[in-house]
């Protein structure tokens, strides 16, 4: 039955063997002590596009996009692996474990990480991300304008910053203007903002929407970030073997159940990142709002919307939250510390560069002063998709009020698996206790060192 699978696997193994044989071996030449090749590990073209746009040393990128040449002849090699299913981390971990044994030009120089797993790489014992001070970057002065929570996120237990980001991901509530007009009689962001300003008001609003046959949000997963961001203790304490499920997470389960039963959420949309969820962003959907940071509006909502520009607007969310963010790390053992320092500073500390990223890519970038400036600059920062609304005016206050939830290296697995386990419960497939035990099984499978799961009383 699976002969074909076997043969595909064999072919793949052979191909992989070949590739492994071909790669590597490039002569390293002296360039004032700096290597000739900068290897950058990332999961998509996001970072590359931004480097090309603002890093002044860039000369040209090869046609296939894998190599970018700098003016001094140094080459940036982009090693891109998709984030899905942990592929990126697997490849990166492999490379990091071999870091000491490969030739200078084969070493990882820069790698990126996401908020969900940044903690794994900034870990003090792992020591794979260099402290910024070792590169000659002083966070207190060079990165003074960055949002505080992004600096905390990229720091180890001792508060030593080991990464830096150009991007900051405060989330907003994005809503359909036509539905707002139909239900509330107004689509003014300020008036709608009043209607969704906290969870209590939100629930009353949801009732209003449901009465007219609209859903407030598409799926129970949409609200997860808001709860997950306000946990008081990390999922797993440093060095511990117990997963502590925060009360806030259980609140999410209970509230979601209530909202589902009350018809405030679309029962047919199960989680995020699937076809049903994408459809809920289309013009035929009855979903009033989504909770998105800047990248979500640009990369997810916009491609799925099939109507005119200007149908959506943003306003404040019921609770401040952060979703995502890509951190740039200098890899321990890099042979290009000067270039790495240069790139990190150019992409995360240079105000002009960051403003350019904001206007070119609509990222909410990581400088407080310029974001305040952008919030007032409707001429340059109004969004066409949002019908001329300046979203930065709403992002900025959220960003300033974000309190980062305590992170742990286990966040990605915990967040993913608790949503999966309780999806079954929310859809009525299993009872509450069964969902709990399914989570316990799944988390101990994913992290063999975890021996116990503690639930809130």
């Amino acid at each position: 039955m699976k002969k074909r699978v076997v043969s595909i696997l064999l072919t793949a193994a052979m191909a992989a063997g070949c590739l492994a044989g071909c790669g590597g071996s490039r002569g390293s030449g002296g360039n004032g002590g700096e290597g000739k090749v900068i290897n950058i590990y990332c999961w998509n073209n996001e970072f590359k596009e931004r480097v090309e746009a603002v890093y002044p040393e860039v000369a040209e990128t090869s046609k296939d996009g894998t190599i970018t040449k700098l003016k001094d002849g140094t080459e940036i090699h982009w090693i891109v692996n998709p984030n899905q299913d942990g592929v990126y981390q697997q490849k990166l971990d492999e490379a990091l474990l071999n870091q000491a044994d490969v030739s200078a030009d084969g070493k990882v120089d820069i790698f990126l990480s996401e908020t969900d797993y940044v903690n794994k790489y900034t870990d003090i014992d792992a020591n794979v991300a260099m402290p910024l001070t070792d590169l000659g970057i002083d966070p207190a002065t060079d990165l003074a304008d960055q949002y505080e929570f992004t600096k905390v996120t990229a720091s180890d237990v001792n508060g030593v910053q080991r990464g830096s980001t150009w991007q900051c991901c405060p989330g907003l509530l994005v809503y359909r203007r036509d539905i707002a007009r139909d239900v509330f009689g107004t689509d003014d962001p300020q008036a709608v903002g009043e209607k969704v300003k906290d969870w209590e008001t939100m629930e009353a609003t949801a009732r209003e929407l449901a009465a007219k046959g609209y859903y407030t949000f598409a799926s129970y997963a949409d609200t997860f970030r808001l709860y997950g961001n306000s946990i008081t203790e990390p999922w797993v304490k440093q060095g511990d073997i117990v997963v502590r499920v925060d009360q806030k997470i259980m609140d999410w389960v209970n509230d979601s159940k209530e909202w589902l039963d009350a018809g405030y959420l679309d029962k047919t949309v199960k989680g995020q990142w699937n076809a049903d969820w994408n459809q809920a962003m289309g013009s035929s959907s009855k979903v009033f709002a989504f909770l998105f940071p800047a990248w979500g509006i640009d990369f997810t909502l916009k491609p799925n919307w099939d109507g005119e520009n200007g149908a959506w607007a943003v306003t404040n969310p019921p609770q401040e939250y952060n979703w995502g963010g890509s951190y740039i790390h200098a890899c321990t053992g890099t042979d290009n510390p000067e270039h790495v320092k240069d790139i990190i500073l150019a992409l995360t500390a240079n105000k002009e560069n960051l403003l350019k990223i904001s206007s070119d890519f609509s990222d909410f970038t990581n400088t407080q002063s310029s974001m305040r400036q952008a919030a007032e600059d409707d001429a340059n920062f109004a969004s066409e998709f949002l019908g001329g609304q300046n979203a930065f005016a709403y992002f900025s206050p959220v960003a300033e009020n974000i309190v980062m939830a305590p992170l742990s290296a286990y966040d990605q697995g915990c967040v993913e698996l608790i949503q999966n386990s309780f999806s079954d419960y929310l859809q009525g497939q299993v009872d509450y206790d069964r969902a709990k035990s399914n989570f316990e099984t799944a988390i101990m499978e994913r992290y063999p060192e975890i021996k116990q799961v503690q639930w809130p009383d």
């Binding site: 002969k3 971990d93 870990d123 049903d276 299993v430 799944a442 063999p448």
Partner: protein
């Protein structure tokens, strides 16, 4: 002496020609297999960027697996396989019988043979993706059902245990029935036409012919199909993995053994994964033994066994 020299021995070329296979098998399959068995006695996994182990723990991994839901996943695998295999063998038998029946004079058998084999050419993961989209709650299948008025509310195929299991079974059926048909056709064509002609002269109808002649005579091939399919089914993972996003949803009821293995490999837990592999290896080994017995059994029509029995009775 002279006569001996004349006899040139070519057999060494045979060995030389098959050497590459055995070399690559030894390096890429045999050594890793031995390693797998070795690691199954160790605690060996990765926590974040730290490697834990390998520490020797004896049979701990095996015991732990027995205490886990492994048996349940084995049952899941079996159920998923049965749902796919029963329609597969029934349809394949029927088609094979029709295609080789000269009297039916079906036109374009070659064309249909290609068509029924086609689903097998699609990658299983692509196939699963396709079904995932088609059968999603707001997908095209539900849209069709609703516009036909067959159902008011969209059916949540992938949210229900039997919906998911049937879909997995259905996909496996679609992918493999062509393959089985072609194999069974070969088997049926191997039956001597004399027997069919004789039965016709004796006034056999087509049902009798099928059940009393075809079926008994292709029994070895049928058994072979069954066993290889069981072994394949034991290793089933691609379709349910993609269809349920590796979670075996709902409530881990479509989690197969290999998906269970994969979830251990996510944490690079070589110890547990190794132990699970050894369990699977033993089961497959037993099944292979049966295949081997069957394919090496020269006594196709049972005459030798009958002769033996008769001899025994004579003696007794």
């Amino acid at each position: 002496m002279n006569a001996k020299r004349k006899k040139i021995d070519y057999s060494k070329w045979g060995y030389i020609f098959i050497l590459p296979f055995f070399l690559s098998f030894f390096i890429f399959s045999f050594i890793p297999m031995i390693d797998t068995v070795r690691y199954s006695f160790f605690e060996y996994y990765r926590s974040g960027l730290k490697e834990i182990g390998p520490n020797f723990v004896g049979m701990a991994n095996y015991v732990k697996l027995l205490k886990s839901d492994m048996i349940k996943y084995g049952v899941n695998t079996l159920i998923l396989w049965v749902i796919g295999f029963i329609p597969q063998i029934v349809i394949a038998l029927m088609l094979a019988e029709w295609f080789v029946d000269a009297r039916l004079k079906i036109h374009g058998t070659q064309f249909f043979k290609v068509v029924i084999y086609l689903p097998n050419l699609i990658m299983a993961s692509a196939f699963a993706m396709l079904f995932f989209t088609m059968f999603s709650t707001n997908g095209p299948i539900n849209a069709i059902l609703m516009s036909l008025g067959w159902t008011k509310e969209p059916i949540d195929f992938l949210g229900s245990v039997w919906g998911t299991r049937s879909l997995v079974g259905f996909m496996n059926f679609l992918m493999w029935f062509g393959n089985t048909t072609i194999m069974l056709m070969a088997a049926i064509m191997g039956i001597s036409p004399d027997i069919f002609e004789a039965s016709e002269l004796d006034g056999c109808n087509s049902f009798q012919r099928f059940f009393s002649i075809t079926l008994p005579l292709i029994r070895p091939i049928l058994a072979y199909t069954l066993i290889t399919s069981v072994i394949g089914g034991l290793q089933m993972f691609d379709v349910p993995q993609i269809l349920t996003n590796a979670q075996g949803t709902p409530n881990r009821t479509s989690m197969t053994l290999i998906m269970f293995l994969n979830s251990h490999l996510k944490s690079k837990n070589y110890g547990m994964a190794g132990a699970l592999s050894v369990y699977l290896f033993i089961v497959s080994g037993i099944l292979c033994f049966f295949v081997y017995r069957m394919t090496n059994n020269q006594d196709l029509d049972g005459s030798k066994a009958a002769a033996k029995k008769a001899k025994k009775e004579k003696r007794g």
